[in-house]
């Protein structure tokens, strides 16, 4: 393997330049369109507009569609849904993943094949029964507020006691704090939501199906099996000797989990969080089927409102600016952590 011959070098470069053009064409086109002041449909291909403008972005960030809902409302709905359901499925799933990875118990193999089988269920196949069932859960905003307040107090007490006991036993490592404070944060959010809902009073009807909570529950239902399977695959690779050593030193199962395993799993928890987040950020079908009130709409639903069958009169440069805005946060994080994410994806795939 000496130096590449010039002829081969040049032909490889030519090939790669052609590939680069095909790769970059849609991206450059949509970026160019997004700064194009002319909203009419083009009859000639324009890559770089003569008078670039940021006005399209300004309009998108103000109010992207004719629906009476602002961009910040859409953004906060999408953010709450995707962070909330990603965090909840991690929080719920990590314990089961640990038990599957480390313990032998009655029903283990049955439960594991049930979880694996569920990962084969396309997410859209799971939305129908929850649509019907959650539609039956009806109450009023005040009751929702009360339920959320109860949950908030529960979360705050449980995580607060967890933190306090760790601190008193002088076992509090950095990740114990992250876990405990993360739980307290969820408690605080629940508290906030509870107060807001309670203030709305008993007159406002609440249908779980027609709310972001219903969509979130359905997302968690679809995401949990993947989370469990993915985390189990990683926990299997952590040497058991570490926990044995801790056990010999007198640590309980609980302690080995929080003090030995959880800190080691933080990077993979972060990747899994991002993967779930990424999926939920552009989740469309559940929210499209469940939500009817424009103030609950998400960024993904609005993208379809801009481009889909109801969008004849929305100009293309607005669509372009909007799709850049939706794609950008995911693209940036993905590009930065690309190596870890792809490694994790294949790990999960091979193990599955």
């Amino acid at each position: 393997m000496n130096k590449l011959k010039l002829k081969n070098q040049l032909s490889a470069q030519l090939l790669l330049v052609i590939i680069t053009i095909t790769v970059m064409f849609p991206i450059v086109y949509i970026l160019g369109l997004s700064i194009n002041p002319d909203g009419r449909r083009p009859s000639e291909l324009v890559i770089f507009p003569a008078k670039p403008t940021l006005a399209n972005y300004a309009q998108v960030l103000d109010r992207p569609t004719a629906n009476p809902v602002s961009f910040s409302q859409l953004l906060s709905n999408s953010l709450m849904l995707s962070t909330g359901s990603a965090a909840m499925s991690l929080l719920i799933g990590v314990f089961a993943a640990y038990a599957f990875s480390r313990f032998k118990f009655v029903g283990r193999s049955f439960l594991m094949s049930a979880v694996l089988g569920l990962t084969l269920l396309p997410s859209v196949a799971g939305l129908l029964p929850l649509f019907i069932l959650l539609n039956r859960i009806r109450t009023n905003a005040a009751m929702v507020g009360v339920a959320m307040l109860v949950l908030a107090i529960l979360a705050i007490v449980v995580f607060g006691m967890f933190l306090l006991s760790r601190i008193r036993n002088r076992e509090a490592g950095g990740w114990t704090f992250v876990f405990g404070l993360g739980g307290l944060l969820i408690g605080a959010l629940l508290l906030y939501g509870g107060i807001i809902n309670f203030a709305k009073g008993a007159e406002e009807e609440f249908i779980l199906r027609n709310s972001l909570y219903g969509v979130g529950i359905t997302m968690i239902s679809g995401g949990l099996p993947f989370t469990i399977w993915y985390l189990k695959g990683y926990l299997d690779t952590i040497p058991k000797e570490l926990e044995e050593a801790a056990r010999i030193d007198g640590a309980s199962f609980n302690q080995t989990f929080f003090l030995v395993v959880l800190p080691l799993a933080v990077p993979v928890l972060a990747i899994r969080f991002f993967l779930s987040f990424m999926g939920d950020w552009t989740e469309f079908y559940i929210s499209w089927q469940f939500l009817t009130d424009p103030k609950d709409y998400t960024l993904a639903m609005t993208l379809w409102n801009i481009v889909g069958q109801y969008a004849a009169n929305i100009s293309w440069n607005i669509f372009a600016a909007y799709s850049v805005v939706v794609a950008l946060p995911i693209a940036v994080v993905y590009a930065i952590f690309q190596k870890q994410i792809v490694g994790g994806l294949t790990l999960g795939g091979v193990k599955g």
Binding site: F105, L120, A125, G126, L128, S221, F319, Y334
Partner: protein, 331 residues
């Protein structure tokens, strides 16, 4: 053996760890699935959403209607389960093969020693895979517009260099009822839209293959190539007898994974093609979503969901068997 020693000493702990997850899953996953199976044996419709108005039990009628392409049951024009299934399988197979071959070849070119601008290319080539699927498909839908879409405008611009008329490139990518290459499957030729799907998925798909193949290529020891050179092997010989066999253990699982993803790639059938023309480019999952969202035939949709689950499981088991068969190869 370690598991059993744990089982003796762990006592109640495993159950405490598993309990919260399975309480939640029982409530929001397992119970709804049983409910779905029950629904699939009924004529559940919009009117039955209220509890006071339970649906009628109709046995296997939904399943029989779906498998017999009965439009009176499914109420989607041109519905034909077996045609949709065949299209779905062929779509997944063809898109995996095209992305796999291109992805591996590009990875090999990018791995050549002494190539200029290697890092620049690698950075640019990951861009398609970092963009969310939803955005990719809506953007391609826009670019495939017959009169103002970027694809046709670009083809016109290139064509005018060779003196070709503009009308030649007013291709109706997403709505044409023509089937350009009829020879492939005479009983079910692929519409123009299928090729549009293939193009957009190719754009998005090969960079992922390249990333995985690059990782595998870099783990092949250089000494192998040096030894082969000393023995007088030519470039193509080295490719066939060293590179490709050693790529296989990494690429087979990647291909399987990508097959199972592409098989249920609802985004492409919903956002890019919308099933056009005449529901010919519909995937099973997109039919399922239409049954729920547009037809509101919840009982039929529940049966369809069960069928989709069974088909997905069969696909998974089949592809898994292929992985197993190839695993013995390198051990």
């Amino acid at each position: 053996m370690r598991g059993s020693s744990n089982a003796n000493s762990a006592g109640i702990w495993p159950y405490i760890f598993v309990l919260p997850t399975f309480l939640v899953m029982g409530l929001i996953t397992f119970y709804p699935i049983f409910f779905n199976v029950w629904m699939s044996f009924t004529n559940f419709q919009l009117a039955n959403i209220r509890l006071e108005n339970p649906p009628e039990f109709i046995g296997l009628a939904n399943y029989i209607g779906i498998l017999n392409n009965d439009i009176a049951v499914v109420k989607i024009a041109d519905f034909s389960f077996w045609k949709h299934l065949f299209f779905n399988i062929w779509w997944a197979v063809s898109s995996v093969f095209t992305t796999l071959i291109a992805g591996i070849l590009i990875a090999i070119v990018l791995n050549v020693e002494g190539l200029w601008f290697k890092k620049v290319y690698r950075v640019m080539f990951i861009l398609p895979m970092v963009i969310p699927n939803l955005v990719v498909n809506t953007v391609w839908r826009n670019m495939f517009d017959p009169t103002s879409g970027a694809i046709n405008l670009a083809l016109m611009a290139i064509g005018s260099v060779f003196g070709l008329p503009r009308e030649m490139f007013e291709i109706n990518w997403l709505g044409s009822i023509e089937h350009p290459i009829g020879l492939l499957f005479p009983w079910q030729p692929m519409p123009v839209t299928y090729y549009a799907m293939l193009i957009s998925n190719f754009w998005r798909g090969w960079p992922w293959v390249t990333v995985i193949a690059t990782g595998a290529l870099q783990s092949i020891p250089k000494e192998l190539y040096e030894a082969a050179s000393i023995d007088g092997a030519t470039g193509p010989q080295k490719l066939w007898s060293i590179t490709l066999p050693l790529l296989r253990p990494a690429m087979v699982p990647a291909a399987i994974l990508s097959y199972n993803w592409t098989f249920n790639l609802l985004d492409i059938a919903y956002f890019l093609t919308g099933g056009q023309p005449f529901h010919e480019t519909e995937l099973l999952v997109s039919i399922l979503f239409r049954l729920v969202n547009e037809q509101r035939l919840y009982g039929v949709a529940a049966s369809f969901a069960v069928i989709v689950f069974i088909v997905s499981t069969i696909m998974f088991l089949l592809t898994n068997r292929i992985t197993r068969a190839t695993e013995s190869y390198d051990s």
